[in-house]
Symmetry: C2
Subunit: 344 residues, 2 copies
Amino acid sequence: MLRQSQATIRDVARLAGVAPATVSRVLNRSGYVSERTRARVEEAIAQLGYVPNRLASSLRFKRTGTIGLVLSDVTNPFWTTVARGVEDAASDHGFNVILCNTDESEQEQERYITVLLQKQVDGILLVPVRSAPKPVEQIQNQGVAVVVLDRRVPNARVDVVRCDSFGGAYRLVRLLLTLGHRRIAALGGPEGVSTADDRVAGYRQALAEVGLDRSAELIFRGPFTQACGYEMAQRALTLEPRPTAIFAANNFIAIGALKALRDAGVRVPEDMAVVTFDDLPEGLVVEPFLTAAAQPAYEMGQQATELLLARLAGRGGPKPQDIVLPTEVIVRRSSGTALARSGA
Amino acid sequence: MLRQSQATIRDVARLAGVAPATVSRVLNRSGYVSERTRARVEEAIAQLGYVPNRLASSLRFKRTGTIGLVLSDVTNPFWTTVARGVEDAASDHGFNVILCNTDESEQEQERYITVLLQKQVDGILLVPVRSAPKPVEQIQNQGVAVVVLDRRVPNARVDVVRCDSFGGAYRLVRLLLTLGHRRIAALGGPEGVSTADDRVAGYRQALAEVGLDRSAELIFRGPFTQACGYEMAQRALTLEPRPTAIFAANNFIAIGALKALRDAGVRVPEDMAVVTFDDLPEGLVVEPFLTAAAQPAYEMGQQATELLLARLAGRGGPKPQDIVLPTEVIVRRSSGTALARSGA
DNA sequence: GTTCCACATGGTACCGATTTCAGTATATCA
DNA sequence: TGATATACTGAAATCGGTACCATGTGGAAC
């Protein structure tokens, strides 16, 4: 049994005393095969432990049954959940997923896209590092289907599946306003990433509606990382007068901010209310604490995959779709209760 | 530019006025090509936006540059981190990773292994659902390299990279004993999974050394899930006399247990000390609380990948390796301070 | 008794890149 | 001058599976 190098369809055919074409018919249940022949072929297959080479068939058929998933970092539970939704949906349709982490690097993104195209994936789910349309066009020019996940790409004709960043942020900030907060710091994500921009825009809109739009000093921007959340929160604490609430643009930023507040001896929510985009999966937290705008991450992955596979099947209409899933604001302790009004 | 169906090496050759073989030489920098020809070919490549078809080359070369990663569930931060280690190491060597979630189902495992073999992956990293050697042999019989991750497979000749489950559990329970605990419940993982079995064995060993080996009623077994942790903790609370400490066999079980304790009004660590296998990534937790045996998950993924790639390169010696990485016990608040002795 | 069709099987040309092998042209050396 | 090496290029076989076409049965219909 050792080192038994792969049996081919020709080996099976020889052993069964038939032509390769007949074996192929048995394998794919296509065309006519008599019962006796089928049995002989199947025995030969079992005897040789034959496993069809999908590379060869893909080369011929021009379909690999594989899609690429290009995202920033599977270490983030949000992306993990998205990836799981993608995998499940793909698996349901007999597709496999090649996973690629860009770490928000355009170079890595470019490299991975090229590799996926070379591997002849049937489609690509892309979380674009920047809003530039180039990567999307690169894929489309090769005749490969692409669906953009999570982020908008303004100047590309492409399907997008994302969540309502603007609305979620808007409602979170509205909540803080309702509770009486007037100085609310925004710890935003990187400029040029649509989710980050949209969340800041939602924040601004909520403030503008109550006549509080001159608050540039309260807005911080930086990568979606814990380290940056920590640092932005520290800087927010030095403002005069000190903000009474913080809006964090994603879960990592929020966790970093909470650590900064803890280290500075600032109590949440007593001294500082905190709300955030992205919930942490229920399974990871003993005592949910953060008031958050939860995104349906799993569904996003699932729907993006369904859309991609529909495109592969030639369905879905001619126009690119922009599917926006709702975000749900979950109120917990970190946002606190109504503020005892003092000024403003 | 639309729908421009893939250019082949022949199209490039035609445009450049050379033979396909020459284009291939340019692409792979193999053999002689004159400067003038190379320039002409490269221009044709750029003009057509030619992307080589790796399927064809893999078929010929019998190497796909792809490895499969079969694990239970990427939603668990432990596996996420492992997956990241795998991806990074693979990427460093120009390999891609196909991700497969088995959800601890043998059927899914079987299905995925078959798919990966058909796709002619160069190697497979397998977190086996059960200890049976069959899946491993199935892979080896096809002449495909395999490294087992995280778990032992007793009756197979195969490389394994795992963590010291026995030692970690042993040291966690020793810690509880040192603090004065004598009734320690074990919330174990599923029987037949080596990590679960080893952790329970470590627990038993620590107890046996202080003459406390008759404690079968204190041992619970079940899947590595939060729901099961919740349920096992509930049952542990009904024991008479009630245990003073809980040893959880992984992070999900621990979280479930903590929820059960909270719901029952049992304070940690005042009323019940808790220790667990698996740490939660620092980035996900604001205030680390659980005393845990942390596994070097990233390194495990990385080293398993390095070993697999070494095997592919024909290195690594003839004998299967069993690489055991150390676990580190991190003492935090959940284990509490020394117990005020009452009985025992 | 021919015609026709469903059933059954084999031969072969692809898919696209690579890699011998063979062949040509130019330079180098005895 | 002839022999030999070096630089360069092309034709064709190959990887394994599949689709298409051709061929060959036997039985039913007319």
